[in-house]
Symmetry: C2
Subunit: 229 residues, 2 copies
DNA sequence: ATACTATGTGTATAGTTAACACTAAGCAAT
DNA sequence: ATTGCTTAGTGTTAACTATACACATAGTAT
């Protein structure tokens, strides 16, 4: 997805090339944020876009997504899943390129240094409510990622990837509320969470000026799909 | 996906190319069938594989899937949705190629002439229970397609694409049972179908030697997603 | 001791899902 | 016209799930 404002490449290759685009979410200051880069070159110079890059011939598509994350924010072993492949001919006006999109989630955003100074574009966290039109079809990809996250929240334990190792139930409920964008009933939320039997007690909060909450951690961070049918 | 047993192309291109592979389902003689081709060339000579082909530079990924279907079985305007992209480096031992898989459904299989005699490989319908290991990673793709079909059966009106224009509720239930691979309760099935309010009456069966059933048709064949949350 | 603040807990109601068996309608054979 | 055959069509109950709702509790700070 790094372009130098070159002439169209439609004639240059008989077949189309592929790239990975990443929707990286994290909760920051009570808001859902996505990772964006500012484009350096035409035709989207100065516009915001999702981070991403070409898939190399010696790496799997999944590995490409992992490499991109590592290059952009220097971390590994985060939750990641493939979303959808966007393949309109003119989705990138200057090169025929198919985008395979990925969703990635980051729990503890503090440890992360955004690599804004190297060979890549500047890179930012931005609250999703403040994101306006992105370059390419990236607004559509972002929308798709958000709807996938919302639905997985309900039938999987995916939320564990947006929480620290130890967390209170209020914290967990807040993350659900931020993503689903509506209030949940505290008692019903707790009942449901306990019924799923995915978390275990892990001590209690300290140093707060009110009743300290019990802390919990997930029994496993492996993706668990809650049976519905 | 048409290969001539050539030497590996891993060095030839810096980036990877993409193809579409199709899982085409139809109900034939009370069984769920998938469309398969017999490979002509090495390294999978004689093996069965999903139909598919390279994405051309001037067509969208969706259009490629439509073109492939049209070339293979000569029909258009069928239900089709993208599934997942398979991107292991060595999934095709001789060329680096990323496969974007599609699910397609065919309702009336009688109108169809399989184009077995042209430039393409021989092409067959095969009951999915009789399909053993396919070439490449196509068994995995088939499995993925089947699980997608099963789950969409429950929360969408996707079954309309596997039924004729007019059908009885018994017929509809049979299709569900074939795909889900278990018996359903007749009364509960009917209650649920009527509650969804997706079908309307369309006459009655004739020329059968038992009580004739009412026929129904779908109010719309547009994909309807039944709200769950 | 009191005020403050976020934590933690139970019950009743409505809605949904699952289990279950007999009658009805048409055709064919006698 | 009666009988037999075959598939269509129909309701009720019980178990479970989801929702709505309000107050006591435990710790800190003053």
């Amino acid at each position: 997805m790094k372009k130098k404002g070159r002439k169209p490449e439609f004639k240059k290759y008989k077949y189309s090339a592929a790239a990975v685009d990443l929707v990286v979410f994290a909760i920051i200051d009570g808001e859902l944020n996505a990772l964006l880069t500012k484009m350096k070159y035409k035709p989207f110079e100065g516009k915001l876009a999702l981070p991403g890059g070409r898939i190399r011939v010696y790496e799997s598509v999944d590995d490409c997504a992992k490499r991109e994350i590592k290059e952009k924010i220097g971390i590994e072993n985060i939750y990641m899943e493939q979303l959808y492949s966007f393949g309109d001919v003119k989705r990138d006006p200057s090169v025929r390129i198919i985008s395979i999109s990925y969703l990635a989630l980051i729990g503890n955003v503090n440890n992360i240094k955004l690599k804004t100074t190297e060979k890549y574009e500047k890179i930012y966290w931005m609250p999703i409510n403040k994101i306006s039109k992105l370059a390419y079809d990236h607004s559509e990809i972002l929308k798709y990622a958000l709807s996938r996250l919302k639905s997985k929240l309900i039938y999987t334990n995916i939320v564990c990837n947006l929480l620290p190792q130890k967390f209170s139930l209020s914290e967990m409920q807040r993350v659900h509320e931020i993503i689903l964008n509506r209030k949940l009933d505290k008692r019903n939320f707790r009942k449901k969470v306990f019924a799923l039997d995915l978390i275990k007690e892990a001590g209690r909060e300290e140093g707060v000026s009110h009743r300290p909450s019990k802390l919990y951690s997930f029994k496993t961070k492996k993706l668990m799909i809650i049976e519905m049918f």
